[in-house]
């Protein structure tokens, strides 16, 4: 591989958005048959760079070379023509269409006036076999798993003749088993001569699959290293710019009485089906209970039922002895429940509000925040300053909408606010989604601090690593039911992964 041809080269790419510099003087070379990881924190400029390669943005300065030729990458079509394909984090597939229909969309092979489905299907089948993708061309997208949808996206790029495949955060939505499969597929693609760029901030996957890793921090290339000569520790430190601890330090939990108890809870999803189907569990004071499971197994409905956002059919929810089943969100909150929502942009913050305005989102109606209906903007400002100071939130200004803040700082603001409500139970749903290593560390520390303060913490996460690291006790959710309960020191990724796929604890398959 030492003499492999350089298929894609970026020379001195700089991209400015107004006064913001997203990429600065980035140079980067991709060799044929190589898996090249692009590592960086959120907002480091990885996605911007790849959007430049894919023709979605134009660089302010610098040049792009494909197979030794300088090119003007002005549209995605140009990129596809040059053999570059991109698999986005959020799939761009038409749900009711078949795999074949999705793949040929936009460049249908013609037989006279009609679309030549037969030859398209045959070609897709052949590509699928060649690269071990195991995709059924006639299946409908809505009926296949997320992992297979992703393989359809990969197949789409191959069908369009891509030699260079860019994968943007490809493992974010997959189960551990699906991740293993994906990594195998990537190796297969590389061995067949395709070149791959994988954008990620997960070190484990880089160590497992990548040949080279380029680290980007604040829009600049920090280093480009051969993965086999590096270590996760080194990569993480280069990415964050300081020393990082992976294992979250925590003492053993000292659980006390049950503070949140759920009995036989049944909740319907938006489609009218039972999404939470007879769930019973308890969270004790001074304990973090982690709910593991693949997205869509009832987690969202469970959280909504617990926080008063969704009506439950039957069952009981008691918070410190008080019944909160089907109570309004405000009542639930005042009974001692805080909530770090999964979707902070949709549920946690009003993005067009300033930091002070967001700080008082739940307590604006309290007498200390308004006098006879007139808002006390000084009180809100004082509160916001307290949060910013004690949680080290970086903000562009108190009168600027929080939209302008980074994801990590937005999350810090939510956590500051939720903890300040002095809850008995804290529900944290995917609290580190989309955050970088430094911010993740912070969030985990805060959750553990709350536990040590005698609060009950319910952590819902799709990231096994997070559950294993932070939780004191683990419940695995599948199809709205509990399929297993275990402790982090008594289990491993493999066992949890199987349970997440529906295998009941102890081996009886479901």
């Amino acid at each position: 591989m030492a003499q492999a041809e350089t298929v894609l080269e970026l020379k001195g790419i700089t991209k400015r958005f107004g006064e913001v510099v997203a990429n600065e003087d980035i140079s980067f070379a991709l060799k044929q048959g190589e898996i090249h990881a692009l590592l960086g924190e959120n907002g480091a400029g990885k996605s911007t760079l790849m959007n430049i390669v894919f023709g979605l943005y134009q660089p302010t300065e610098g040049s792009i070379w494909v197979r030794g030729q300088e090119v003007q990458m002005d549209t995605p079509n140009k990129a596809i023509e040059l053999g570059i394909g991109m698999v986005h984090q959020h799939f761009k597939l038409v749900q009711p269409f078949t795999v074949t229909e999705n793949i040929i969309l936009g460049m249908e092979p013609k037989a006279g006036l009609a679309t030549d489905m037969k030859s398209a299907s045959a070609k897709i089948r052949q590509l699928s076999e060649q690269y071990g993708l195991n995709v059924d061309p006639s299946a409908k997208i809505e009926n296949i798993s997320v992992g297979m949808q992703q393989r359809v996206e990969i197949l789409k790029t191959l069908y369009r003749g891509a030699d260079i495949v860019i994968l943007d955060e490809p493992t974010a939505v997959l189960t551990p088993q699906e991740i293993t499969e994906l990594l195998a597929i990537m190796r297969r693609l590389a061995s067949e001569g395709k070149s791959i760029i994988i954008i990620t901030h997960k070190l484990k996957e880089i160590m497992e699959v990548a040949d080279t890793c380029t680290i980007i921090r604040r829009g600049r290339v920090i280093d480009s290293v051969l993965v086999k000569e590096s270590s996760p520790q080194e990569l993480a430190e280069k990415m964050v710019g300081r020393e990082v601890r992976f294992k979250t330090d925590k003492e053993k939990a000292q659980p006390q009485q049950a503070i949140l108890s759920v009995k036989d809870l049944k909740v319907r999803g938006d489609n009218g089906q039972m999404a939470v189907n007879g769930l019973s569990f308890q969270v004790r004071a001074g304990e973090i209970v982690g709910i593991a499971g693949v997205d869509g197994n009832g987690q969202a409905e469970l959280i909504e039922a617990l926080t008063g956002m969704r009506r439950s059919d039957t069952g009981a929810i008691e918070l410190d002895g008080v019944n909160i089943l089907n109570k309004s969100p405000r009542t639930v909150g005042q009974s001692g429940m805080s909530h770090i929502p999964q979707d902070r942009h949709k549920h946690g913050l009003v993005l067009d509000f300033t930091v002070p305005e967001n700080s008082i989102l739940q307590i604006y109606n309290k007498p200390e925040m308004n006098k006879g209906g007139l808002m006390d903007s000084k009180a809100a400002q004082t509160l916001a300053e307290k949060y910013v100071k004690s949680f080290d939130i970086r903000i562009p200004g108190y009168d600027v909408p929080v939209r302008a803040m980074s994801g990590g700082n937005q999350q810090k603001l939510i956590i500051a606010r939720e903890i300040d409500r002095r809850p008995k139970v804290l529900i944290a749903a995917q609290p580190t989604r989309g955050l970088d290593v430094g911010a993740i560390e912070f969030v985990h520390k805060e959750l553990i601090a709350e536990r040590n303060n005698g609060k009950g913490v319910l952590l819902i996460s799709f990231e096994l690593e997070e559950i294993m690291n932070v939780a004191d006790r683990i419940i695995v959710l599948f199809n709205g039911q509990i399929v297993g309960e275990t402790y982090p020191d008594q289990t491993n990724d493999q066992e949890l992964g199987l349970m997440m796929a529906g295998r009941r604890q102890g081996g009886d398959s479901n």
Binding site: P329, H339, H347, L351, L361, G373, L374
Partner: protein, 357 residues
């Protein structure tokens, strides 16, 4: 000074300004193509607006309902909803004011105050119906608004014909003089133009609108729901009652438009085959004014002046007044399609940016 510079560099100020300039220019081109003299036309438009005290007064009269209509639409917009039913709320407001003005006997001043309050209440109730249908039954507010517009119109026909018909005409009996809110001495000052108390109430309401949104608890709720309904709900706000309250306020402002027209301008209500169209103009006023107090004041003033001045244009330059309707439409078009303007701005801004960097 810094703030002014910041404002001048933000798109939000240049988009409406450029929209207006482009609208006027395209209007001129159309006039040229039609064989009219645009310079003469615009000159007579301005002369009509400022020509005499009477004209200035009548221009002000024209502006009042447009500003109110803009405010009615804007308050709903800020709450994340679209009030396209101001037309119906105007009719109900007119009807309420007319009924009080015609059917009750009260001392002067008090009579006017009661009539104004009832007019606003009628409009507010009519507006809140829209929100009630929306939150209780999930009915899209655009559909219910448009239907309620017609229902209001025909209710007004029935009520007028049954209780207040003026024989031999297609209009109602006039209100009693005690309910009039015209200001006689001010009207005299403006050469007989129909100036009424509504003019001062509007100024008060523009300030009130700003305070309500930015300083009160209810305004905080309204903005939270408007920006992000889901987060507001998560934070424990009662989104349904906030929506109903917002539509009540919006409708009450709409009701005031009709109220002022009846009590201060026309004194009677016509049995018209159509609603006035002022409610729809309000959408344009709110859009160009970006739903802010100052913006609505400026854009309402502009549209009111253009509408009134259009009469002078047809008189002085023989240009059909439809041209001004078209100019306004073009302004709205560009204000609503800011991407087109931004492209324009980019070309101008590229140079100064380099100097700074």
């Amino acid at each position: 000074m810094n703030n002014v510079r910041k404002l001048l560099r933000s798109d939000s100020i240049w988009i409406p300004v450029l929209s207006i300039i482009i609208g006027i220019l395209i209007g001129a081109i159309v006039m040229l193509a039609g064989g009219y003299n645009p310079i003469l036309a615009y000159q007579s438009l301005i002369e009509k607006i400022f020509g005499s005290p009477y004209d200035i007064g009548e221009t002000l009269r024209q502006i009042v309902p447009l500003i109110l209509s803009g405010l009615a639409v804007a308050v709903a917009f800020r709450g994340g909803m679209f009030n396209i039913g101001v037309e119906g709320q105007i009719v109900m407001g007119s009807l309420g004011a007319l009924m009080v003005g015609n059917m009750l006997d009260l001392p002067p001043i008090l009579h006017g105050i009661v009539a104004i309050l009832v007019g606003a209440l009628f409009g507010g109730i009519w507006g809140s119906l829209v929100a009630i249908f929306k939150v209780k039954r999930g009915l899209n507010e655009v559909i219910s608004c448009i239907m309620l517009n017609w229902i209001a119109l025909y209710i007004s026909h029935i009520v007028i014909k049954t209780f207040m018909a003026e024989m031999g005409t297609s209009r109602s009996q006039p209100i009693h003089d005690s309910a009039s809110i015209q200001i006689a001495w001010l009207s005299d000052l403006f050469g007989g133009a129909r100036i009424h108390w509504g003019f001062f109430i509007v100024i008060f309401m523009l300030i009130g609108y700003y305070y309500y949104l930015n300083r009160t608890k209810w305004g905080y709720e309204l903005r939270a729901v408007g920006y992000n309904k889901h987060a507001a709900e998560y934070a424990g706000m009662n989104v349904s009652s906030i929506a109903i309250r917002t539509f009540f306020i919006s409708g009450a402002i709409g009701g005031l438009i009709g109220t002022f027209e009846i009590l201060g301008v026309f004194k009677y209500m016509a049995i018209a085959p159509n609603t006035s169209g002022i409610g729809f103009d309000g959408i344009a006023v709110a859009l160009l004014g970006m739903n802010t107090s100052v913006g609505v004041l400026l854009s309402g003033t502009l549209f009111g002046a253009l509408y009134y001045g259009a009469q002078g244009m047809s008189f002085g330059a023989d240009v059909p007044p439809e041209v001004i309707r078209m100019v306004i439409s073009i302004i709205i078009f560009f204000a609503a399609a800011p991407a087109a303007i931004r492209m324009f701005l980019k070309m101008f801004r590229r140079k100064p940016k380099r100097e700074e960097g």
